[in-house]
């Protein structure tokens, strides 16, 4: 396995990095988070122009036809800047789910507007347990009634991918969020850079044509999407951890106590070094997993790769966000300094797409419970 990045890959990462250094610096990111309900529409448009919403969508459907490696490179930059855009939800999560259905007609209908960024998609991932919506057939439509307690990016999105159970049948529906009967209410979120909303569905009619898949294919697609997205989420967290490390090293260099910069104290240097250890190991894990995902690995392998990336990135993000607060000293827990925003993101991410403990248990089952060693 060759982990060298191509020149093109470096350019993609570089251009996103450059864009965000300005368009999602601390002040703009905070403005989008606290005054813009967590969505920076202008930035979203810029990202779309770069082609970043269709990175891994085939060129035939308006994407760039690239792979998971490109996704993680972009994700790291978005995580590093806590960019207020629903890229993970739309381009990665929903985009991968749609592609994983392996249905040419579905892909042709849905992917182009997703890939261009013109439409924002999201997907219900059951962040908080709530009763599943009731689904009934009414003529040519599916009728939905119920409440989804927490849906990511629901305010910014036009389409919601919703896996449901209709009697004995498993369906994946695309619900238009501006349809009659759909009500969206933003929820207060400590992780203000990744907004969520409560979505209530009252006699919502979904035409049969907006059913993207049914049966076992739905769960297969959802699981493939969950694993791939977990790797990309891990990369975001590497960006989160990296930024915390950078902020901390910079803070220690300028803060003087006992007559010398804090950066000269060995105990603090070792702590920063340990932060870097977690960041680089997680980055290696993410790059390795992404490279293998590019080859569409089989079931057992993809579980192992996703678990690796997810768990190590979680370790890095937890450690580095906590240490960033600690090593900033008194200002570390003030609103005005950034570490707390990263800290909250790192915590919120733990509940996305399965907890690290859950991933480990799944991997343990694969390693330990089989028929023979």
């Amino acid at each position: 396995m060759d982990l060298k990045l191509t020149e093109e890959q470096r350019q993609i990462a570089g251009s996103v990095e450059q864009l965000l250094a300005d368009a999602s610096d601390s002040a703009r990111m905070r403005r989008a988070a606290f005054e813009g309900e967590g969505f920076d529409a202008a930035l979203w448009a810029q990202i779309g122009e770069l082609g970043a919403c269709g990175l891994h969508v085939p060129e035939t459907h308006g994407g760039l036809g690239l792979g998971v490696t490109e996704l993680v490179l972009v994700a790291e930059q978005l995580g590093r800047r806590l960019a207020c855009v629903p890229w993970l939800e739309s381009a990665v999560l929903a985009g991968t789910t749609i592609q994983s259905l392996n249905d040419a007609a579905v892909a042709a209908r849905w992917l182009p507007s997703l890939a261009s960024g013109e439409r924002v998609f999201t997907q219900d991932i059951g962040l908080l347990a709530s009763a599943p919506p009731a689904v009934r057939r009414e003529g040519a439509n599916w009728r939905l009634d119920g409440v989804l307690a927490v849906v990511p990016a629901a305010m910014a999105a036009q389409w919601l991918l919703l896996p449901v159970q209709a009697g004995g049948e498993r369906l994946l529906l695309a619900v238009a969020l501006d349809a009659a009967g759909v009500a969206r209410q933003p929820r207060v979120n400590h992780d203000a850079t990744r907004p969520v909303a409560r979505v209530s569905l009252k006699n919502v009619q979904v035409p049969e044509a907006d059913c993207l898949g049914r049966g076992a294919a739905v769960d297969r697609a959802l699981e493939r999407s969950r694993r791939l997205t977990a790797v990309v989420l891990a990369s975001e967290l590497v960006g989160v951890a990296q930024q915390c490390l950078d902020l901390t090293v910079a803070h220690l260099a300028q803060r003087v106590q006992f007559g010398k910069p804090l950066a000269t104290f060995q105990a603090l240097k070792h702590r920063c070094a340990q932060m870097m250890v977690t960041v680089e190991l997680a980055r290696s894990a993410v790059l390795g997993a992404a490279r293998e995902f590019d080859g569409d690995p089989q079931e057992g392998r993809s579980l192992r790769l996703a678990t690796m990336a997810r768990c190590l990135a979680d370790d890095a993000a937890r450690y580095c966000t906590q240490e960033a607060i600690q090593l900033h000293g008194g200002v570390g827990f003030t609103w005005e300094f950034d570490p707390h925003l990263y800290f909250k993101r790192a915590q919120a991410a733990r509940s996305w797409l399965g907890t690290p403990t859950g991933w480990r248990e799944q991997l343990a089952a694969a390693l330990l419970d089989g028929a023979a060693a």
């Binding site: 962040l127 908080l128 927490v150 929820r187 207060v188 979120n189 400590h190 992780d191 969520v196 003087v256 106590q257 006992f258 104290f265 105990a267 603090l268 937890r318 906590q322 607060i325 600690q326 000293g329 008194g330 570390g332 827990f333 003030t334 609103w335 005005e336 707390h340 800290f343 909250k344 915590q347 919120a348 733990r350 509940s351 907890t355 403990t357």
Partner: protein, 388 residues
């Protein structure tokens, strides 16, 4: 717990049951600092109720209006107080930090002027030590004080002062000898907060709330007699004051943590986290460690009582701040993990809300009142005798 104090326990429990009701119902079980539902106005009336009941200064000498109860009985009071749901104590800084320092260093006039207000719950105190460039490096004091006629005039800035906006007075370490360095040339002043020369700016924290403040002194004044100890020897007084911090009240804090633990167990049982084997390990470890914190606090108290003053700080005392603050920080993360996605998504459940507050607020525990790093320096150099 020894059975000796059964009657005393019953007395406290009865008193609490009789008084912590009515308007005080809403602050029952509130921890205080960092706890959203805590209303300072009400908390002050509660302090006054406590004072009338004779529960303030129970360990103070009788000459200062205290009841001179032995340590073990003070511990009993704090335990029963929390068990009964008693809220966090707003008078804590005055009662347990300033008062002992006044008794040790104050003039008779100062004692007569200030102790009664503390004892009655009518005057509240804030602490003015840290400055923007004197955080871990406390001796790097930049705030200046000069005698002008019969007044001290103070210029400078203090930060991380808890509850300054709800307090009447502040004790301030300031540099009174221009050009002096570090620990030398400092004075400890008692300064009224409600005056034109003082501006208080809240510091917004990770929680979105503000329990801490910056206090700006711009020609602020206090009487020329209101220095505690001799001018120039402020450092000695300031350090002695910090020495009173590890006192019997830690048992009250402990009881607050036990309440938080009960809260976590309640939420975990309701939301299913209690069935996860990994959570079970972490919860059990947190509970066991919390019990150990209590044992450590009792060991410190036993040592203090055995030696009654003038002793070198014991090894268990050196670790006290480090262990409780790190326990609580870890507990905060555990609380967030128990909550799951709900950690970031406020809802109406008061238990969950309390855990959210602990999760965020506990980030500051390992930083204020001596960071982890300062604690480890102290432990290595003073307790283990390693070279500087």
């Amino acid at each position: 717990m020894t059975a000796d104090y059964e009657a005393f326990r019953a007395e406290i429990a009865a008193w609490m049951q009789q008084h912590l009701r009515g308007e005080f119902e809403s602050i029952r079980n509130c921890s205080g600092l960092g706890d959203a539902g805590y209303d300072p106005k009400l908390a002050k009336r509660w302090e006054q109720a406590l004072a009338r009941g004779g529960w303030v200064g129970i360990g103070w000498p009788k000459e200062h209006g205290g009841r001179a109860l032995p340590l073990a009985q003070q511990v009993v009071f704090h335990e029963e107080y929390v068990r009964a749901g008693g809220p966090g104590r707003l008078g804590h800084i005055g009662e347990t930090l300033l008062a002992p320092t006044l008794m040790a260093f104050g003039t008779r006039e100062q004692q007569q002027r200030f102790l009664p207000g503390i004892l009655a719950g009518t005057e509240y105190w804030a602490q003015g030590y840290s400055e923007p460039n004197a955080g871990s490096d406390l001796a790097n004091v930049q705030t200046r004080a000069r005698l002008e006629g019969d007044s001290w005039v103070i210029d400078g800035q203090k930060t991380w002062t808890s509850w300054a906006h709800e307090s009447d007075w502040i004790f301030v370490v300031a540099r009174c000898e221009p050009g002096s360095q570090r620990h030398k040339g400092l004075v400890m002043l008692l300064v009224p907060l409600r005056q034109a020369g003082v501006a208080i700016r809240p510091i917004r924290q990770i929680t979105g709330d503000s329990e801490f403040n910056e206090v700006f002194f711009d020609g602020a004044r206090t009487a020329g007699s209101l220095h505690l100890g001799a001018p120039g020897e402020g450092w000695k007084v300031a350090m002695a004051l910090l020495g009173f911090e590890r006192g019997v009240s830690t048992l009250g804090q402990q009881a607050g943590f036990e309440r938080e633990m009960a809260c976590l167990i309640d939420v975990a049982r309701r939301n299913g986290a209690a069935r996860d084997p990994d959570m079970r390990q972490r919860i059990a470890q947190a509970a066991a460690t919390l019990d150990a914190l209590r044992c450590n606090a009792l060991r410190v108290l036993a040592q203090d009582e055995a030696a009654s003053g003038g002793v070198p700080v014991s090894r268990e005392a050196y670790i006290a701040k480090y262990v409780w603050s790190n326990w609580r920080r870890d507990f905060g993360r555990l609380a967030a993990d128990v909550l799951g996605a709900a950690a970031c998504l406020p809802d109406d459940d008061p238990m969950a809300q309390k855990l959210r507050q602990v999760w965020l607020f506990s980030r500051s525990d390992t930083i204020y009142a001596g960071t982890n790093e300062i604690q480890l320096n102290l432990i290595a150099e003073r307790a283990l005798g390693m070279p500087r």
